[in-house]
């Protein structure tokens, strides 16, 4: 039953080309094109400066490590610019997937022949695939960025990453993925409760914004929250995310954290994934679907 719902949702989303383009391809494409342009302009400026100073434009011998593309993508959710934009576009896609059947009044077509939990889990599955695809396409875009750097500046290419570095990148990548899914699931809960696409988009965004504000040290001090404590970690899943990342790779963020925060952070991330999902399932189970 879940597989029927998943297959149907995936089919339907594949025909919604605008949503797929904006959520999966737009930001990576922008990043790749911007990267190419950035390197070309940099090269041109450098050449001009060198020519003006009468210096030869010799190629840099330091190789471009393409493995950095993997680390870059793994850290996606920590990057306010690209990570934030990816999240916004994923939430737009999430609002379409999660609230579309209310808007188009199509629940009554599908809910009579599949159980409600499967219908919701099918949608969640599709959003997970979409988030995964976005990260993969961004990885490709990151390779384009680093590859272009090598081509434009005529630098050699290398690919080196130790096993430990690869494991760290994988774990951080998983954390970033969970963070995107987590916001999507908050969108799901809001979509089911309000039956509104707009609410499914803007409530998680507002929540994310509020959490980022509350995570600023002066606010935390004002609320008498300690970054290591249960209250701060449970209230602010963004902080839990940063905590886990810092514990995985010391120094990767500026969060002053100790190992005491590990379990609160794990519990926080898990709770912020499971509670919206379970809440949405429970709400949807008893929902009157004759009024959409």
């Amino acid at each position: 039953m879940v597989f029927d719902a998943l297959g149907a949702e995936a089919f339907r989303l594949s025909k919604n080309r605008l949503t797929v383009f904006w959520s999966v391809f737009f930001i990576p494409l922008l990043f790749a094109l911007g990267g190419v342009l950035y390197h070309l302009i940099n090269k041109s400026q450098g050449d001009k400066l060198a020519a003006g100073a009468g210096l030869p434009t010799t190629p840099t011998v330091t190789p471009v490590n393409l493995a950095e593309a993997i680390t870059f993508t793994a850290n996606l959710a920590a990057q306010a610019n690209i990570g934030g934009l990816i999240l916004v576009f994923m939430l737009i896609a999430g609002a379409t997937v999660y609230a579309g059947d209310y808007r188009w009044e199509t629940w009554r077509l599908i809910s009579a022949r599949n159980d409600r939990a499967s219908l919701i889990l099918g949608k969640v599955g599709v959003m997970k695939i979409l988030a995964f695809s976005t990260l993969l396409v961004l990885l490709v875009a990151a390779f384009v960025f680093y590859g272009t750097q090598a081509v434009v500046f005529q630098r050699p290419v290398s690919f080196h990453m130790s096993g430990a570095e690869a494991l760290d990148a994988l774990l951080v990548w998983l954390l970033s993925y969970v963070r995107i899914v987590q916001y999507g699931l908050i969108g799901l809960l809001i979509a089911v409760m309000t039956r509104s696409m707009m609410a499914a988009l803007f409530v998680p965004l507002a929540l994310g914004f509020a959490q980022s504000i509350l995570g600023i040290p002066p606010f935390m001090a004002l609320m008498k929250l300690h970054p290591d404590g249960w209250a701060a970690q449970l209230l602010l899943p963004g902080m839990a995310y940063d905590t886990l990342k810092t514990l995985l790779i010391p120094g990767i963020t500026q969060v002053p954290i100790t190992s005491a925060a590990l379990w609160p952070a794990v519990v926080s991330l898990t709770a912020w994934v499971l509670l919206p999902l379970l809440g949405a399932l429970a709400w949807f189970r008893q929902q009157d679907l004759s009024k959409e």
Partner: protein
């Protein structure tokens, strides 16, 4: 009786309003079953409960011999509730493909066949955002039928259709029952349509069942012989209290067995009989009598 739908004391309340009030209904397998009633009678509420869209406040219901929440039973049912709507970016063919996958018949659904059967072959690759209400209705019916269900529930299946469309839909519904062996349960406001297409009907009013039976059973009650004659007065004299003037004709309240003798008597009395035919009470009259709805001076016969 081998029932496909059975309700016992089915009740649904919305605040103080009782949309269904202890409904006991048994819909037999086979044929076309019509559910009639004025607005607010509980038809749509009944269908929505049967299809699991809403939960009853009290009572129980079974479909295909199983409880309502049993998906394996529900999967043997096709449905269309009111005018269906679809994601606007999909074509008609994609809508059916999507719903076939959703309903677990992605591999077996013969989509071109069902598009043809509802007359949408030419529009198959057009996006549904440009579809008329009638076309949406046809697509909804195709979606309800493509999994080859044993039971089909259709709420106002001809709503928004033009007269040829209504005629095609009527033929499709009849063929589903007679050729495909599907039990069709439909709700409609178009009483003449229901009389033409249904084998049995139930009339609901204020959430309760007020009449149930085959169309012929219901309409034969109060059956009369209508006689178009040269002299109505002469006939009325023969019939006495059993005769009622109906314009230039006379309605004779006699049993079928008494008909030939009456005609012989009138012929012997030198009355010219231009036409003699049995007329029953039509479904529309029964509907208005049973539901207490006010009949408009020129009632819409629905076609």
């Amino acid at each position: 009786m081998n029932a496909v739908i059975e309700t016992r004391g089915l009740t649904k309340t919305y605040g103080d309003v009782r949309a269904l009030d202890g409904l006991d209904l048994s819909i037999p397998r086979g044929g076309v079953y019509g559910v009639l009633g004025p607005n607010g009678a509980g038809k749509s509420t009944l269908f929505r409960i049967l299809l699991g869209l809403i939960r009853p406040t009290a009572g129980s219901a079974a479909m295909m011999g199983g409880p309502l929440n049993d998906i394996s039973h529900m999967r043997r049912t096709g449905s269309m509730i009111e005018t269906p709507r679809f994601p606007p970016y999909l074509t008609a063919r994609q809508v059916l493909r999507w719903l076939a996958l959703e309903h677990g018949v992605g591999a077996t659904a013969d989509i071109p066949h069902w598009l043809a059967r509802v007359g949408l072959t030419e529009a198959a690759d057009r996006k549904v955002r440009g579809f008329s209400v009638g076309m949406m209705q046809r697509l909804g019916v195709a979606a309800a039928l493509m999994s080859r269900p044993e039971l089909v529930i259709l709420d106002e299946p001809t709503s928004g259709m033009d007269p040829p469309g209504i005629q095609e839909m009527r033929a499709l519904i009849r063929s589903l029952a007679t050729e495909d062996g599907v039990t069709v349960v439909l709700a409609s406001h178009q009483l003449l349509e229901v009389q033409r297409v249904c084998d049995r009907v139930a009339i609901l009013n204020k959430g309760k069942l007020v009449r149930e039976g085959t169309v012929s059973e219901l309409t034969s009650v109060g059956e009369r012989l209508r006689l178009a004659v040269s002299s109505a007065d002469q006939v009325l004299a023969v019939l006495g209290a059993k005769g009622v003037r109906d314009g230039e004709a006379v309605l004779a309240e006699v049993k079928r067995a008494e008909g030939p003798a009456l005609i012989r008597a009138l012929v012997e009395a030198n009355v010219d009989i231009h036409e003699a035919r049995w007329v029953g009470t039509d479904l529309e009259s029964i509907f208005f009598t049973e539901t207490g709805a006010v009949q408009a001076p020129e009632a819409d016969h629905g076609v």
